[in-house]
């Protein structure tokens, strides 16, 4: 019976562990340092990819495309750069601020770093939602066009 037991024993029940705080332990610091390193590797490779693809776009002429389509290709390259550089900037801010915060033990810097970390994934999430919206709209339009064609 629960009522028969000592209140001291009830608080040390193994089924409900005692409340504990989340702490930034040395283990977490090591993992964060590795995350910063790999984030910088990702950023470096992405920037290298942008430079190489820019070189490829501007130095080679696709024989299948005429002059107007070539300018469309340039425009789409600049738009894609914008969409790539935006999250790259967030990741860069996250990595640099977290690194700085860990080095100087400044909690504000760490907090700001994780704010950019959140922005990064919010950006990808909103972009994914927009894509899903486009796909749904496309299916809806196809359905409407198909049903209109059947009625004629």
């Amino acid at each position: 019976m629960i009522l028969d037991t000592n209140p001291e024993e009830q608080t040390s029940n193994p089924v409900t562990p005692p409340e504990q705080d989340i702490r930034i332990t040395p283990f977490i610091r090591t993992i964060w340092a590795e995350i910063i390193l790999w984030t910088f590797v990702c950023l470096g490779l992405t920037v290298l990819y942008l430079v190489l693809s820019g070189f490829f776009v501007f130095t080679n002429r696709n024989p299948l495309l005429n002059q107007e389509l070539q300018s469309v290709q340039y425009f789409s390259y600049f738009v894609s750069i914008l969409f790539v550089l935006w999250p790259v900037w967030y990741s860069f801010k996250f990595a640099t601020m977290l690194k700085n915060g860990m080095e100087t033990d400044e909690m504000d810097s760490i907090t700001d770093g994780f704010k950019y970390f959140r922005y990064n994934y919010a950006f990808y999430g909103i972009l994914a939602l927009i894509y899903i919206g486009f796909i749904v709209l496309m299916f809806f339009l196809l359905f409407v066009i198909g049903s209109l064609a059947n009625t004629r």
Binding site: D21, I22, I28, I31, I35, N60
Partner: protein, 166 residues
């Protein structure tokens, strides 16, 4: 929207949490929600990729076996798709692991913040470390493939450089 609602997360969190500020927990729990959402989308994408890849392979093999028996082109394509199916399986396996790490990160981070569980908190960041490491490796492989494709395209006789304006 629930994900973006500040009050929703504010109610879930307590003001405690050692010496860590409230904003940090707020950022972590929202990041966890977005990453779980993205990971679920990734799983759906991986499933669709597996479905389309397997259907394409099966259809080409069927075409090769039916009315086009003896056609060297179809037999060559079907042979290619046998290896292609292996490639699809490998890609599906890699993507499944990739999004699994992201999902584990997001769900563990949310649970760690909600229930103040240190071991889940550590597990979340280990998973995120694995995810970022895998991202770097995949971007590196993609870069190599891109460079190879670029060199092959540049070596094509129809590919001519843009003349420099004088």
């Amino acid at each position: 929207m629930e994900i973006l609602d500040d009050d929703y997360t504010r109610n879930e969190l307590t003001e405690e949490g050692g010496n860590l500020p409230y904003e940090l927990f707020h950022n972590w729990i929202l990041t966890g929600k977005w990453t779980v959402f993205l990971a679920i989308l990734g799983f759906i994408f991986t499933g669709l990729f597996a479905l389309v890849g397997s259907l394409a392979g099966t259809m080409v093999t069927l075409f090769a076996q039916l009315e086009t028996a003896g056609n060297p082109v179809y037999s060559m394509i079907s042979r290619f798709f046998q290896y292609g199916m292996l490639g699809v399986l490998i890609v599906v396996g890699i993507l499944a692991f990739y999004y699994y790490f992201l999902y584990q990160f997001g769900s563990n981070l949310q649970n760690a913040v909600r229930y103040k569980n240190q071991s889940q908190f550590e597990q979340a960041w280990v998973n995120y470390r694995n995810y970022v490491r895998m991202s770097a490796i995949l971007i590196g492989i993609g870069m190599l493939l891109y460079i190879v494709a670029m060199v092959l395209f540049a070596a094509h006789p129809y590919s001519t450089p843009i003349p420099i304006a004088e």
